[in-house]
Symmetry: C2
Subunit: 298 residues, 2 copies
DNA sequence: TCCAATCCATGCAGATATGCATATCAAACT
DNA sequence: AGTTTGATATGCATATCTGCATGGATTGGA
């Protein structure tokens, strides 16, 4: 029989530690309050309280913002570890939950979120009215580690080992431009004819350029004079004749303001992956939505 | 510039997680409440709240106690990780604290706590009235990992790498018995004369027996018919003639009710170690007490 | 230099959680 | 079977925390 443990070292207010963590990570009390859905004074008082409780100065009040003191930086490492563990707690809890009702969060690119998801979500709501859905439309691949979403639709195979992923199918991506723009560059007939055309870039890495070059073009960086940070912006630019854009053929073909560039060119195939946390696989609700998405997207 | 993180997975009440952790580790709400210095209904409600928040049944209410459900067991791993990180937070916070005033906890064996520490603590209080002292008198080596104490006085070199230890000096331990008992067994003159004597054992391992056998005796388990769980009990038994006990010579020699067994025998030397957490080395308060103890015990 | 924006600090009313006392319950012991 | 012990739940007064509204301070730009 072991002597009753002393929990002196865990007696401090863990919520205050959380307040400190989010404040430090977000950079300000206000941002942390927004991220946590709390009021800014509350967070401020919690951080103050932690400082008093631990008898340490965590932040230097400098001007309009806060700056971590060396001591605070020292603590932040361990508080981060608490946060990571807390994430795992929340995740496995979600996975253990066997009730079908509840909230679920789906991340997808903006085009998918606005054009493909709505009918699927309508069907989901019909099938399971107890499930409330939240859609995060984000161009950058959503950070599932921090649980920006429960399920994500991605265009590449995820590498993180904590995730389970299912490849749904390949999407044919085609090049589109406005009729005016095509007239201006002389109605190209061969990939080679595009050597001086302007493309709207979507990411700062060369992924798009490399993909196009494998199809017989020889493009360089000067062919991508415009960088759009999101799909809707890119698509607007294409419609208004700024240049050539690439998009899912099933979406682009129904847009009357644009037409295909090189209509008979083989489409560039890119995959659709459905991604979720491994732990969430055991949750009835997540499973249900995951399977529905897989079926409807196929 | 990274997109504002979503902290959905850390939004749950961390204090409720702490309540769950301590309850699961201690085995009952009441025990957890005692350990945390809170009321039992509070902890019960916190655990209930966590169950509702995560939509999981953590404990099975069975009879007078609680039993972890499989889901709860699953979560416990990660909550334990949170607790370990929390310990580190508290520890480094203590280490970063540069104020001399505050509380400190010293662990020592019962004899040391009652006979050696008082004058040192009196001196400490005179030097630094802002420091409040707590003494934990425990026979079993205190668990510094869980912060039963900030500084411990031990009789062996600690093996844990997280601890810093300083060897103070070697203590001469001698054998004592009451005059009546010595008369009864015939006033032994040589170690060999003790082959049939009764010794008061202090630990269930054979440490004491082995130490004595290296000094020329040949004792077996039957020479240790009595096991005392603490030093004071052992010493009382020695004074009342139950058998032979071993104690620090500087303490035993001043007790009028006993006398040395084999007065000229070489004393059994055992070391005094002062032990503290590595992180606490940077705390002014801990440093000060540590150094004072080292100086006074030498 | 002034203005606007943004952020942290404070006061106060209402919501929430806590602790005490107590009821209730199950298991072990006589 | 009755009693004792040690456990979990409940009611209520109180203490604490939270959020809203507001004030004060600083930065960046017109």
């Amino acid at each position: 029989m072991h002597i009753c443990m002393d929990w002196r070292s865990v007696k401090f207010d863990w919520n205050k530690a959380r307040a400190f963590l989010v404040t430090a990570e977000e950079g300000s009390l206000s941002a942390a309050a927004r991220a946590l859905g709390m009021a800014q004074p509350t967070l401020g008082r919690q951080v103050d309280g932690l400082e008093q409780e631990l008898d340490i100065v965590l932040f230097e009040r400098v001007g309009r913002g806060l700056k971590l003191t060396p001591s605070g930086l020292e603590l932040l490492d361990h508080v981060r570890a608490m946060g990571d563990a807390a994430s795992k707690v929340s995740l496995t809890a979600m996975g253990q939950s066997q009730s079908i009702d509840g909230s679920i969060c789906i991340a997808a690119s903006e085009t998918y979120a606005s054009l493909v998801l709505p009918p699927i979500i309508a069907k989901l709501r019909r099938l399971e009215p107890g499930i409330t859905v939240e859609v995060v439309a984000s161009n950058s691949p959503s950070d599932l580690r921090r649980r920006e979403a429960d399920i994500a639709i991605r265009n590449f195979r995820p590498t993180e080992p904590d995730l389970i992923a299912k490849k749904i199918r390949d999407i044919p991506a085609r090049l589109y431009a406005s009729p005016e723009y095509l007239d201006r560059i002389g109605r190209p007939k061969l990939p080679y004819d595009l050597r001086n055309a302007d493309f709207i870039n979507l990411d700062s890495t060369g992924m798009l350029m490399n993909g196009l070059n494998t199809m017989g073009m020889s493009l360089t960086k000067k062919n991508f004079p415009v960088l759009a940070e999101n799909y809707n912006v890119m698509w607007e630019m294409v419609k208004q004749g700024v240049g050539i854009g690439i998009l899912d053929g099933t979406i682009g073909d129904v847009e009357p303001l644009v037409e295909r560039v090189l209509p008979d060119l083989e489409p560039l195939m890119f995959p659709i992956w459905l991604v979720a946390h491994r732990e969430l696989n055991t949750s009835r609700r997540i499973r249900m939505v995951f399977d529905l998405l897989a079926a409807e997207l196929a």
